[in-house]
């Protein structure tokens, strides 16, 4: 039998949450928003710990359940995690979120409260300097892109979908080409308590 093994890949969790998203959207719209610094036609909540508010306990519980599934069942990690930052984003028509990563976090994620086709694709990428199927000096051009030969990968998010990924993973959102506003909740988690049982790499936070 012949196989191609995608060794040393970067894991990305994708799932769906069953919740009344229209009601959640209306709840979010009652928050105070500010323009984001870098991104065009995007607004984020002033509150950067939105998931820790009592009024968002329902979605927070669901997100934590997904994170546990990813981190504990999928990645086989036993560490405790705490939500260190969470905010809602409204991406109006024409909005673009440039490629970025989340600092001071271990796992990050996005829950789509309202999103459909043309609302902006979620695009993950690795820097060109990151060696994958070929090194960064030599560029080989595939005749067709697949999971083995791509340095960027896009998803078309739908309402109710959640994506969780390592915070160092670059991501961005393409232009919202629809007349509908996209709404999502972004969040960062960090280790809570002890890192590592190895005495040379322990850290308590």
């Amino acid at each position: 039998m012949t196989s191609i093994h995608p060794l040393f890949s970067t894991p990305l969790y994708q799932s769906a949450i069953s919740i009344d998203n229209e009601e959640l959207y209306n709840r979010i719209c009652r928050e105070n928003f500010v323009d984001t610094n870098k991104n065009v036609k995007s607004k984020r909540t002033v509150n950067q710990n939105i998931l820790l508010e009592d009024s968002y306990q329902d979605i927070y519980t669901e997100i934590k359940s997904c994170l546990q599934h990813f981190v504990h069942s999928g990645l086989k990690l036993s560490c405790s995690l705490k939500c260190v930052c969470s905010w809602a984003v409204l991406g109006e028509t024409g909005s673009i979120t440039h490629n970025h990563l989340h600092t001071n976090a271990v796992f990050s994620g996005i829950y789509y409260v309202r999103s459909a086709k043309d609302n902006g694709d979620l695009i993950f990428s690795v820097p060109q300097t990151h060696n994958t199927f070929c090194n960064s000096v030599v560029e080989l051009e595939p005749t067709e892109y697949n999971i083995f030969n791509s340095k960027s990968w896009k998803f078309v998010p739908e309402s109710g979908q959640i994506y969780i990924f390592p915070s160092h993973m670059y991501h961005g959102v393409s232009e919202n080409k629809s007349s509908e506003t996209r709404c999502c909740i972004a969040f960062n988690f960090f280790i809570d308590g002890m890192f590592s049982s190895d005495p040379t790499s322990q850290l308590h936070v």
């Binding site: 990563l101 600092t103 960064s136 000096v137 030599v138 160092h168």
Partner: protein, 197 residues
Amino acid sequence: MSKTLHLLFSTPIGVSDLDVSTAYSSICNEEYAPNSDNVLVSKDKFILNKYKTLREAILKEVHNYARSSMACDQEMRITQSWAIKSNSSLQFHQHPNSVISGAFYVNADSASSEIRFLKPYVSGQIKWETNSDLYKNQDWLWDYVSFKPHTGKLILFPSYLNHGIVSNNMDSNRCVLSFNTWFVNPMGSVDKLTFLN
């Protein structure tokens, strides 16, 4: 007790000035067409074949750079060369299939936007508040370094290094010639099983 801070594993950037007494301004008058990012790029992607004096001057600097930064005494050749005329930003990119790349400013003035090089490895996943007075003198911490252009300036860099231009939209006169290089002769070593012809 003496203390030394060793700046290990740095990235060499070569900056020099070419003699521009020979006018190369006709490069600005070549035929240009907008690319997918709406940047005006010369239609001729081997433009240095027409400017032999400039090509030889650049190759001399490439050779000096290869000797002093790569311990490489091999002859290099320019593979592709093209000019960009733009007052807009240039997205960050690398030059694959090349060893040393360069930018030669055919025309630039004090309003011309700087070329910006990004740190070649991912960092900044843990961020702390920095002291601005200390930070400005610790360039190894910087996420990018910019170089201000002027007419005749040649900047050489490893082709893998990400670079781009963040435009101020004022530099309508900027015209820069870019190029890639490769070895003339076979590279590597037969004994080390790295030979490539």
